[in-house]
Symmetry: C2
Subunit: 313 residues, 2 copies
């Protein structure tokens, strides 16, 4: 038996047929065209699933279940509670999908799914508990306990990006202030780099952006920091300080066996770990107690498909 994983994004629908061990056997995809009605998107998803199964030279009888990772909050009974990018509120995704394919269908948030993928086939395999932090445009997260994603009592668990890091800090899109996402995301890195460019017009960041602050992206900031550019290093180290604080807060509350860093910023690789780990503040009370291991995600873009598939394992 195999499992099908659907990575539903605002731009692409990516589908994979996944083995029991978490390897992708075949893939298919389509554009989401998010402006279309719910029913049209789901019909397309079902078609792409069928295509992926054919490509794997299998039939639907070989498929155990279908898992779908959504960029939003999953509710009870296979309903999508909300999905901002797609404009979905309380949409019966499981029921609609089962009109086309009569299989068990599991739905979860995309960060929870990526967390599960790493724990089934990536860096956190074998951990009793792990927390995954996606450092992308925003900051997301997922908790895995005993090999299962932890959704919490109301489907909100793992929303690390909206924990408060700085009381009365930078205003957040969620209507509150000082959220982790305002300090530890790619967006935060770019905001901070733009400010730095005003004070240090000679920074390598600005030359990478062709002198245009509006062209700065996170990769330019990281690359400039890696090259030793002092203003870029200052920006990156401030980012690292806040990330270390977030890791520390997760450690003292939940103490997972491992914390996994994923998302676009984890492209910085060992350079990111080298900046963050020394900044996790030591605690004299428990100085001899080991800290959770902090590691980089391994599965990259495939995590969305693999983790969704593994929802049914």
């Amino acid at each position: 038996m195999v499992y099908v994983g659907v990575d539903l994004g605002g731009t692409n629908i990516a589908v994979g047929v996944v083995s029991q061990a978490g390897s992708i056997l075949a893939q298919a995809g389509a554009k989401t065209q998010a402006e279309r009605p719910f029913s049209a998107i789901v019909k397309d998803m079902a078609d792409v699933v069928k295509r992926a199964v054919q490509k794997a030279r299998l039939t639907m009888d070989d498929v155990q279940s279908i898992g779908i990772g959504i960029p939003g909050v999953a509710g009870e009974g296979g309903v999508v509670f909300n999905c901002t990018n797609l404009g979905w509120v309380n949409m019966p995704l499981r029921a609609e999908m089962q009109k086309y394919i009569n299989k068990p269908i599991f739905i979860d948030n995309d960060a929870n799914v990526a967390a599960l993928a790493e724990s089934c086939a990536g860096v956190s395999v074998g951990c009793k508990s792990s927390v995954f932090i996606t450092l992308g445009t925003g900051v997301g997260g997922g908790i895995v306990i005993d090999g299962k994603p932890w959704a919490g009592g109301h489907g909100r668990a793992g929303e690390i990006g909206h924990m408060c890091l700085v009381p009365d800090g930078v205003p957040c899109t969620c209507g509150r202030n000082g959220c982790v996402e305002r300090y530890c995301s790619g967006t935060a890195l770019i905001r901070s780099a733009k400010q730095t460019c005003c004070n240090y017009p000679d920074t390598v960041i600005l030359s990478k952006a062709g002198g245009n602050v509006d062209k700065i992206n996170a990769k330019m900031v990281i690359d400039a920091a890696k090259e030793g550019d002092a203003p870029a290093l200052r920006v990156f180290n401030t980012f690292a300080k806040y990330l270390a604080m977030t890791i520390s807060n997760i450690t003292w509350f939940f103490d997972p066996e491992m914390i996994v860093l994923g998302g676009g910023i984890s492209y910085a690789g060992q350079f990111l770990l080298d900046a963050v780990l020394p900044l996790i503040p030591p605690c004299q009370m428990f100085e001899k107690l080991p800290l959770p291991r902090v590691e980089l995600a391994r599965l990259g873009n495939e995590a969305g498909i693999i983790g969704a598939a593994m929802l049914g394992r």
Copy 2:
């Protein structure tokens, strides 16, 4: 069968025989005399356990297991990792206790034990997940998942008091800055009240303390706030604001079904809930998703005995 619970504190050893349903059938106690050697304290604990079982008109054959709640960190294999008040480091508590009583012995941190008690026989009965916050001299916490205490990957889980609430904030005894404990404990309430007394010498707090700032305790601050004294209300509301922020951070990370407030400050009762709940900042992204219920602990001092006993259930 019954369960025995031992609440080991820096001052008292309190032991209870507890029914399957979590009721205390008989109790016995002794002074800890923490300055004594480890072996003497453990021998006394065993004697008090035997006395409690006799008082319940039962024999050791009726006892399923013994649970011990310690003011410290439990390690692997029945060893106490550390216990600051008692000066214990890596002490083989289970093995020492089994010299006197040959029963299964479970050991956990006292806040985890209180959390478990509320979830077995208190306010959070039936919750799939709950987080207990002890608001006392310091701030502790415990997480319960599926009726079991969650110790984390290294025994540190639930150390809510040492999550960072204010970056670069008030120095903490743990060597770091801005910990929750520095803003949400009885100690924090008293510190803040003392400062207020300098600016507002007419405050009811100061009259309750007989004009002596060094006699101020948390109860005086709460009572003055309940009486409507403006400076006391300001102190209490600042405390409530930080507690609301802590509750919010737990909500966005872990999203438990219920958050239980216990410890000395929860004596403030409904007045505390009325101050804290409106200050939990709303989040526009998830405004229709229910929040965890926030409730007051019900078992008071008995939580230590009941929860320790329930470690073996």
